[in-house]
Structures are given as structure tokens and as C-alpha cells.
Symmetry: C2
Subunit: 556 residues, 2 copies
Amino acid sequence: MSDEATVRCAVRPGSYHDSVVLMQLQRALSALPGVLDAGVMMATPANRELLAASGLLPEEEMAAGPHDLLIAVKAESAAAAGEALARVDALLQLRRGAAGGGEQDFRPRSLASAFKLLPTARWVLISVPGRHAAGIAEEALDHDRNVFLYSDNVPVEREAALKRKARERGLLVLGPDCGTAIVGGIGLGFANRVRQGAIGLVGASGTGLQAIASQIHALGGGISQAIGTGGRDLSAEIGGITAIQALDLLRRDPETRTIVLVSKPPAPEVAARLLGLARSAGKPVVVYFLGAPLPARRLGDLHFAASLSEAAEMAVEWNNVGEGLVPSRAGASPAPTFMSGISGSLRGLFSGGTLAYETHLGLSAFLAPGRFKIVDLGADEFTVGRLHPMIDQDLRLRRLRHEAADRQVGLILLDVVLGEGAHADPAGELGPAIAEVRARRPDLDVAAVVIGTDEDPQDLAQQIETLERAGARVFRTVGELVDHAVRRLAAAEEAPGAPVPLEAIRGPVAAVNAGLESFYDSLVAQGAAAVQVEWKPPAGGDDKLAGILARMKGRS
Amino acid sequence: MSDEATVRCAVRPGSYHDSVVLMQLQRALSALPGVLDAGVMMATPANRELLAASGLLPEEEMAAGPHDLLIAVKAESAAAAGEALARVDALLQLRRGAAGGGEQDFRPRSLASAFKLLPTARWVLISVPGRHAAGIAEEALDHDRNVFLYSDNVPVEREAALKRKARERGLLVLGPDCGTAIVGGIGLGFANRVRQGAIGLVGASGTGLQAIASQIHALGGGISQAIGTGGRDLSAEIGGITAIQALDLLRRDPETRTIVLVSKPPAPEVAARLLGLARSAGKPVVVYFLGAPLPARRLGDLHFAASLSEAAEMAVEWNNVGEGLVPSRAGASPAPTFMSGISGSLRGLFSGGTLAYETHLGLSAFLAPGRFKIVDLGADEFTVGRLHPMIDQDLRLRRLRHEAADRQVGLILLDVVLGEGAHADPAGELGPAIAEVRARRPDLDVAAVVIGTDEDPQDLAQQIETLERAGARVFRTVGELVDHAVRRLAAAEEAPGAPVPLEAIRGPVAAVNAGLESFYDSLVAQGAAAVQVEWKPPAGGDDKLAGILARMKGRS
């Protein structure tokens, strides 16, 4: 790089250009004689930093805001830089004229006319800049079309409003910031070409869906549908509206026999609702919440994965089990038990801290926080001057009677830890107390996990029998105890709103595309019917003027 | 219960009694004529609540602090209550005389004389009240003995001081609040009777160790050692001193062929150190951190479990694999690769948000936060007016050159996502840039994860070949990419301090017990040599007087 390298910049205030056009302009400038490097970006703080890091920001202050276009050229001489900048407008004209979409002769300028051209279009793909995207999405919903909203930088309130509207009408809004979907065998946005099959994916995670779908393909499995929801869908603000619709859709889709749900960690209440819905899907559901602790390995037909690739492996395995291709390694899926649900709350009276903690973790994934309370009676606060509850159960027996007297309590969980050092006959004390409270309240469910071996001094089999005879259900692992509690307490969830018709995800696919032409090209290459809308921002991207125009139209 | 039931209370200020004695007193009072219920507790706020809940707290205010003993009696009449309370002192005398330890004729009153009685004792079990426990533990260390410290309510600073002293001398302090250990085939504290075997456990979780050990036994496996560390050991304050010693000990123990590490979520820096040590154990290590997200399913010889019962299953499975009893389901343990370690830091330049996130999660478990940085170039902040990095790699190519120019950076991670909608030839752009930076810096390691299928338009095999020819290592899952990075960057950890001699955990076991007599009885029942110390609190539990006595002895 020459020492005399000169950097010069031009600003186009409030100017809108397609990002493809900007990329092409940057490349064209870089290729001009004497030009060493070029940068063409909207003048956001992040982009300014980038230009600076590449030595493309001149030292004088540039009067450019985040909606202004910044064009920077580093050249061998001031003259070469000046000549390059002088050609910007000509290059922009050139590039715009040369843009793709060659197969389509007439380009409608509005969604309404696009739908006239392609009335079977059930989907609208939107990848225009974020501040314009929500308006187009709303228009699509008003035309009763599903939306694939690739654009990011859409405010969360707009997202919530769009999704509520879509839910009322039985439509889907995938996104904003949704990168990936596969519906009716056609990839929308970024999507790998995969075998058609029986595994349906739902994900608030674009590359997560791609990684899982690709690996399912590599493992010999196939994809029925892949429904991206946008990264914010499982936040408390949005409440998982799209994920719930998608899960409900795949539950009803006869082509989907196994479901995978993937997301960055959802808001706890959203996770609980989704898992409640997944539990009642009647199909195996593999769940991977990135960065969240696993509530269990498996609860009924729910399987929790610890990585993208494990989610793919588990989906293929359980789908093969479901199709009878291979026997289950982990035992057959337990037949759904139709126990009457309990409407009351849950109390856990534990002597083991870790057992209490693991039980709490498992329940937290499925139950609202107010619904259950797990007490560790071996915690420091309870053991000042008192024997540990594994030796002296007086406190636990008192609490058991106390909790059972509360009609709001429907289920009590206990742990019984045998072995050296522990009480010589814990079941002998607990059993009569359990029988006593259950005699007063036959509706009260009491369940216990027993930790011990057949060599322990207390006689494991005898301890279990005593508890069972008193009316307690006995399990041998915390996972089984939690599964029991969740089955008794968690109601099967129903998706609210109008159900999305299965036609939304069935082929043949027809779609209208507003934004990135490469998405249009990709639709056509995959054999879908598509129309590209010649979208331009209102008033050429001038927000002030656009506001005036909108007010004149009475749309504030 | 009669309406005329009367509640009366007595207070014994600053009075110390063994908790077994208190339990026995409560039972004796409850059995007296006319008595309906009785409570005998130290007057802590939690215990006062409990008494109130049982209707055992009189309405008048009781002048009793947390170190005072509260004796409450509910009786049919005031007379019966009064008679019961009048018998408290007699009952206390009676109970104390009747306490167990029948086999031992002479009871030493100090550790020093206990060691004279049983010089082979390598262990001291301490279960006296927390405020007295640390002093006895320190005395045991001064006598070069390992400590099993069952007592809770020991201040964290005392714990840290004890453990640092122990580490210097090659001794173990299990606890405070350590419920469980099995050393040399003998259970200390609470412990299940299990088959001797090849699986060694380390745990900051008493019932966690019991649950895992019991299930390993049920699955046909056996336990070599189980070393509890106390619940606070893996906190930032303690730094996992005992867990690190224990892991190092089991690594050297020829009888232990598979290790299980269980804990509530450790402080991140402690987890990273423990995992670093575990990676270099040369044996399979199953890790279960309750409530923490799994960094992966498996990294080399590390296996991450999602529940207590899964930890047991994995330990038995991998131990069977190690012993050649069964073939590995998940592929053989990869041969350790002795690549030269990289001392620099790591940069990830990602186009996929989920791939970036999963990579970050995996690395976080092993590397200090300052050691690596993963950038998601597809995040909102980078895409204003610019194409997504899956379409336009200009930004990533710039960052790649920029990071490579920094000599502190030793490893760069990339993702390459193929498929519909994505760049037509990402490797064709990345390859030359990788080759260019590696030509300047042959020491720089570049690794990429490629997501895609053999049906994708970019030609998967060709993309991989192009990247590999440019000098990048290519992986197909994030897990493999993270494994590679951790192998290159994380140094094998060495346990600091003096190594604990293997004799500490070898039989025959001899131990001195101060506190709960049931622990002494249990030692004897298991065939261990044991001596019960007739421990009494200084000045009969009167803290003021004890302070004066201590100062007179010059121990402040």
C-alpha cells in the first residue's frame, strides 16, 4: 500500500438503496484504476467503526447519520479518489439496470397487483429495510397471506402487533429476522436442500434450523417442514405466538411424525407453554433450548437435546423408532396415561438438597413458579441444633400434616434416602403419616423417590412396600418423580387463536417476493411460482417526505 | 385435641446439647401423661416459626436468642404441662447417660488422646455444632489427619483457611456440610452400601453422590471411592480446592478407571479449572453440573450428563467400554492428540447467530472469558443497509485480515453456511484470504464448521476441499469445532499444592469421631476401627465464658 494513499468520502443523505446494489457499487469502485479499497455503507456507528478499522474513514468529521449512505474510497492519489467518487451516480444507475429477475417481464409495484399476477401465492417474502418491512407485512396479512419476514431492525411492538393480528386470522408471520424456512418442499430465505421426510422443525434460530436439517439429511432422515419464527418470538414480549402456531400446525400435519423445537433460551413462561403444548403433541418432540439447563433427558414423548447435532441425531433416532425401523434404545415411548389432572399446587418436602434441587429444576420447565414449592429441610436454616432430616423426621412429619391440611395442595413429593448413617426405618415413620393424611384427603397424591441399594441396612424392598401400602407412589429416580408430577399437574395446552390451515405449508408453493432479488431467483430455481415486486421506499427513502405523504393519505 | 390445651415453654440460655439428646428429650416429653405435643429446639427464627406452626409457641414473648434452647410443651392442662417441664433436667441427665457407643469403654476427651488410642486413624469425622467445628478440624489437620466435616453453619472464611492449610499439607477437608463419602470401602456420614468397583465419584452434593452411587450399584457397577467436598467447595470463594484435590487423587488412583464429577452449578472459573483437570485425567470423566447448560455432549474423554440417573448410566457405560466389556455406542474414545498448544487467544467470525452462540457456550466451559471472543456478523448492528454475511462476505474478509494481523490471536474460527439463498461460493472467497493470512502467519490456526448438504447448489465436497487446501481445518458440527479449539488452547491443568497420598483413601479405614454417635456406630458396623471422642463445648457452650478461657490460653 502506497504511503501517499488518499481517503475520500461522499455522503448521500437519507438515500435508500438495495443492499445488493450497495455491494455491487463497492465492488465496482474497488475495481476502478488507482483505487486500493472502497467501502459503501449506511453511516451507523458500527459501520463507521468498520470503515475506520479498514482505514477508510477520513480524519475530518463526516456529517452523516445512520440513515445516510457513506461512500469511502482509498486510492493511490487524490485524483484517482476524486475520479472514482465522480462515477458513483453513473455506477448506481448502471447497477440498478443490470439487476437480476431476468425471467419476469412485468414487475408490479405493489403487493395488490402482485397478487393479481399470482393469485395462488400463499406467502409473501419481505427483505426490504426494517423500517419499511412491518408496513408491507401488515398489507400482506390484510390480503390474507402468510409472511416470511427476513428483515431485521423491526421494533418489537410492531412484531407483537403483526403476530397477534396473524394469530386471529390463522396466518403465520415468520420473523422479523427470520432467515430460514422450508414449506411444501421449497426453501424460503436461507435453506439447505434436504430430503423430504417426516421430521418437522420449529425454530427461533435460523442457522440452528439449517444445521439440524443438514445433519438430519446426512443421517439419512428427511424434513417435512422447517418453520423459523424469528429470534425474538420466544421472548416474554412476543410470548412465542409463532412457535405455538407452528407447533400446533406440525402436530396436525399428517406428514410430520417427529418434531424438533430449537431456540435460544426462551422466557421461562414461554418455555413452559411450549413444553405443555409439545407434551400433548402425540408425537415425539425433541427440544433443544441453547444455553438452558436440561430439565431432564426425557419426559414421556419429550426428549431434551444438548446440542444442535444431538437434536438431529435424536430426531432421526426417534423417528426411526416411531416408524418401526429400529427398536428403541431407551425403552418404548410410554403409553400416555390418562390420569385425572390435579388442579391444586405441589409441595416437596425433601431431606436431600441435591434431590430437591433437581426436582425443582425439572418442575420449573413445566409449571408456573407459583404452582409448586420445594423445601430442602436439610438446609442450614433448618438444622441449627437439630438433627438432619435424614436422621430425624420430626420436622418433616409436622410439615407433611400441615401441608396436607391445606386443601389447595394437591400433590406432595418426598425423598427417602437410605444407607449408613441414615434413619433406621424412615418408611416406618413416614408410612403411618402418609396413610393418616390420605385417609382424611383421598384426593391428595403423595409420591416419593427412594434412594438406596439392596444392600442397605434398612431393607430397600421393605421400605418401598411400606410407602406403597400407605398410598404413596414410589419412584427410583428424580426424573420419574418429576415426570409423574408433571403428568398430574400440567394441563395439556391448546394453541389459542384461529388454527393455521394445513394448506399454508403444502405445495405447490407460490410466493410474492419484496426485497432481495436473490430470494426470488432461489424460489424460481427450486421450481416455485414467484413474482418479484418492484418495491421502492415511499418518497425515495426520505422519511420526512414519506411522513407527509402518509398523512395526506390519512394513514398517519 | 382438647380446647383447654395449654402451651408452656422453658428456656435454657446458651445451653449446648447434642442434637440426638434434644430429639430424645422431645420424644420423652411427648410420651409423658397428659402431654399432647412437645418441641425442643434452638430458638432460631426458623425454629420459632416451626414451633408456631405446630401451635407450640406461647403467646407471650419469649426472651430467647438463637443460641438458647427452647423447650415447648402442649398439654391437656396447665398442670400436666408444668409437670412435664419440671422433668426436663432429669430427662436430660437420663438421656445423656443412656447414649450409645456401648462398645467403647474409655472415651478420650481430646483428639490428641484419641490418636494415642488409635494411631492408624487417618480420618477425623466432625459433626459437632458449626461454631465449634472449625476449631476441631484445624486441630485434626495439625495432627496430619484428613477431615470429614459434616457440620454446617461454618463461616466461609474458616472453610477457605482450613482448605488452604490442608492443600499445603497434602490433606483433605471434606466439607463443611459434607454429608457423604466412601473411602477405602467404608462409608463416612450418610452412605449407601454399594459394590466395590472402578467408578470414583467427586461431588459437592451429598445426596447427589448417594443417588449416583446407588444407581451405579443397581446397574451392576461398583464404586472405588466417593469423595464429598461440601456444597460451597466449587464457589468462587473456595475455588474448588477439595474437588481439585479429589479429582487429582482419583486420577492417580489405579483402582479408579472412570470418574464422575457432580455439583450444583460451580462458579464459571472454578468449572473451567475442574474441566481442564478432568480433560487431562487420562480416564473417562462424566460431569453433571446441576442447573447448568451442557457445553456439549462429549468432548474427548469428557461426557456431560443431564441428570443424576444419566450420570450413573453414562459412568457404567463408559466404564464398561473402558474395560472392553461392551463396544462404544458413540464411537471409540478418540486417541489423545498431542498438538502443540496455542498460547494466544481465539476469535470467532460467524455468519450464523446460533452457530456463534453454541460455540460461545462450549468455549465458555473451558476458557477464561478474556481468552476468546465470538462475533456474530449477522447480528442487527452489522446488517443495517448491508447484506447478511451469508450473502456478502466483505465484512468478514476484512475482519479476518484484521484479526490475523494481531499476533495475540492464535486461532480463528469461522462458519460456512451453504444452501439456497446463501453466497454461491463462500469458500471461493474465504479460501484465498485464509491462504493469504496463513502465508504471513503459519502459526495461526484457522478452523471452520461447514453447514450444508450434498444436494446444496454450492457443492459441499468442493467447498470443504477449497477450505482445507487453503490451510483451514474443517469440521461438520459445532461440537467438533469446539473440541478442536479447546484441545489447542486449554492447557492441561495440574493440581496445585502437595498431592494427597493414595493412602488417604485406602483401607483398612481407621477414624476418630467427634459428634454424632450414630456415625461412630456406623463405622463400627462396617468393620472400620473407630474411636468416639467425648467432645464437650468449651465452658459448657457458654460463648462468653469460652471466649475468656480461650484468651487466657492465648488463642484469642
